[in-house]
Subunit: 363 residues, 2 copies
DNA sequence: TGTTAGCACTCTTGCCTGGCGAGTGCTAAA
DNA sequence: TTTAGCACTCGCCAGGCAAGAGTGCTAACA
């Protein structure tokens, strides 16, 4: 795993130094061409299309060297060259040019994200949607998993004869509610009292800390009517708290995978979609990644099933603290320059959207 | 569109009368065999495998007649026969035998559905999940769209300095909440007063009726502090109410489509998934269908894209009144007998699960 | 009159072949 | 060091051929 424009240079600095300027230019042309065409690229193409000023024969020699160094592969003798994961890595770290998003796209990202940026989940969903639309890849976003998130409000509300709704709001903006049915009827007063007591006990405490407490015992010795109520509610309270710590994964653009030649093989497409639908394990993969813009290319991914995918993730911050992740997944042959720009911009704007919410200046 | 085991018989009674008992048996064998094998079925196969007691040659003559009547088609001269939509229709209406679910499966449906049947949405989601697992097809379920659904509780709760959560509970068990940010700070008293006033005004009223009222005006003339609050909240109140009337579509088993030979064509698979992802239009298709167990086969479907799918839907009831739909979609070649049984059983148990909730006998 | 056996016919599938085009690798000359 | 030239390799595609499956027809049989 390497991060973008940071430790990458020192790692690949030496290798790329070994490559002549000309080799780098040729490699760049090959990668760029292959990213667009998905066809093995030949020496003649490079020579003509990219105005290298050298003949195909020379390029062939250089290609041969690049292949020996592991940057190119050869599907068969007389096909063109295809970049290896190593070549993409070098391309991403050193060769690709920064892609500047058109103002129009920037504007549309900003507008879509700041509009109604109140509920964390909805905004995150918008972000995933934006990413997939702008990259034509499968995009995802996860809500933050922050053990430090603190409980802000606890409400228990009537919802039926024997049914109540437990509703929790965390400082991060997460809202969770769960309906539960009680063994018997309740009074509004008891609910209200229990809400108040719980709020008094737990408000401002870190969720993870609350979970370490012996909650059920806390409420054992109280007034009888409330004690009974508490007894029914506490197990759900605990599970709701736990679910607040869970990250939620949103995805969009799943069918984009079909537009990509690499996934015209039905088996591959199926495997891909099934991997993605395994939300739990995919979330774990995302959570285990470092912060910042992280690109893993093909075999750099630990998971077998992702060996011919590239995964790009970035982190977003909320109130400068809570950190979630978003990104895209697609074939190793993707437009790294544009895609990293889009992701970066969306992540930044997500920050901005929520900083705004604090002060409410946008309304 | 024809419903199962009802008007079907009278409609097809005449046609099937024209067919000899032997023709019906042969047709049944062909359909059953094709459903299992997905291969065009030949006369020899029928003769041997299904112990008809007649020679392949005779069967060929009968097949030829059946083809003329439109029940079979011929991909090419020397291939076996393939059932037409018309044949499936006859099979579904008259030929297939009732499939009795094994007790084990019945039990697992019952348990999965009744466990935690408090929140409508979650249970519906479970139902879709169950259907897809048991049929190996793409399953879906929609929540009821019942204009008569009535508002039961209205709560406005603090959720931050300028943020509140609006939470509505309907009689059907639907719970919706929406966070919104206000232009300025508020007091808990104002929130509570507004909650109470709104509850007083709207509780027990049909949601669709509330939407016809001039809600914003209702709150114009009140106490100033509350008036301002109401002004911010009412638009969201209205949109939340509207969203309560919306049906929600849950799906599961989307990748099952890849296991089906008919969808090994990448283009077809893509079209299928894209259709399904168009939640809005797919929901409309579902809503427009009659109640009860409805099977539409291939070209019986109005939508072009579903011309080689079969869609099976059934309705479920809650408290004997609210009606949602669930079902599966897959290739016309599906195990109609088993699948209708599963759907029927899941729908029935959904009813049961929610009838139980009323009395809470299950806890 | 209905049923069956036999046989010719049709069509798919798999396999092989040869020609074409793209692209390389090597060599010798500039 | 660069380049032109040429032989070579390989994938791709079309055509041909044989095997196999299944039908349609006909004539004989019960």
């Amino acid at each position: 795993m390497f991060s973008w424009r940071s430790n990458s240079i020192c790692i690949y600095g030496r290798i790329s130094m070994q490559l002549s300027e000309r080799k780098l230019r040729i490699l760049q042309a090959i990668v760029a061409d292959f990213i667009l065409s998905a066809e093995p690229v030949g020496s003649r193409t490079i020579s003509k299309k990219y105005e290298m000023g050298i003949s195909p024969a020379t390029i062939r020699n250089e290609m041969s060297d690049l292949e020996e160094l592991g940057f190119l592969t050869h599907p068969h003798t007389s096909a063109g060259r295809v970049p290896s994961d190593k070549a993409y890595r070098l391309y991403v770290n050193r060769l690709m040019e920064r892609y500047e998003l058109p103002e129009r796209e920037k504007k549309s990202i900003y507008e879509k994200l700041t509009q109604n940026a109140v509920e964390l989940e909805k905004t995150i969903r918008h972000a995933a949607n934006l990413l997939s639309e702008m990259t034509n890849l499968t995009a995802f976003a996860i809500t933050p998993k922050q053990k430090e998130d603190r409980l802000k409000y606890i409400n228990i509300l009537p919802a039926g004869e024997n049914t109540v709704v437990l509703m929790l709001v965390a400082e991060s903006g997460k809202i969770k509610n769960m309906a539960l049915s009680l063994k018997g009827p309740y009074t509004d007063e008891a609910l209200s009292l229990l809400s108040k007591t719980m709020t008094y006990n737990y408000r401002g405490k870190a969720i993870s800390e609350i979970l370490t407490l012996n909650i059920i015992k806390d409420f054992e010795t109280d007034i009888e009517a409330m004690g009974k109520l508490a007894e029914s509610i506490m197990p759900k309270f605990i599970s709701t708290l736990e679910s607040m710590l869970d990250t939620e994964l949103y995805m969009d653009g799943l069918t984009n995978i079909f537009s990509i030649p690499e996934y015209h093989d039905i088996e591959k497409a199926k495997m891909f979609l099934e991997m993605i639908y395994q939300k739990k394990s995919f979330t774990d993969v995302l959570l285990s990644r470092d912060d910042g813009m992280i690109i893993t290319i093909g075999t750099e991914n630990a998971e077998d099933i992702m060996k011919d995918c590239s995964l790009i993730t970035a982190t977003y911050h909320i109130n400068g603290k809570l950190v979630g992740k978003l990104g895209v997944i697609g074939p190793t042959r993707m437009k790294y320059d544009k895609i990293t720009s889009v992701i970066e911009y969306v992540a930044d704007n997500l920050n901005a959207a929520f900083s705004l919410t604090g002060g409410n200046e946008y309304e």
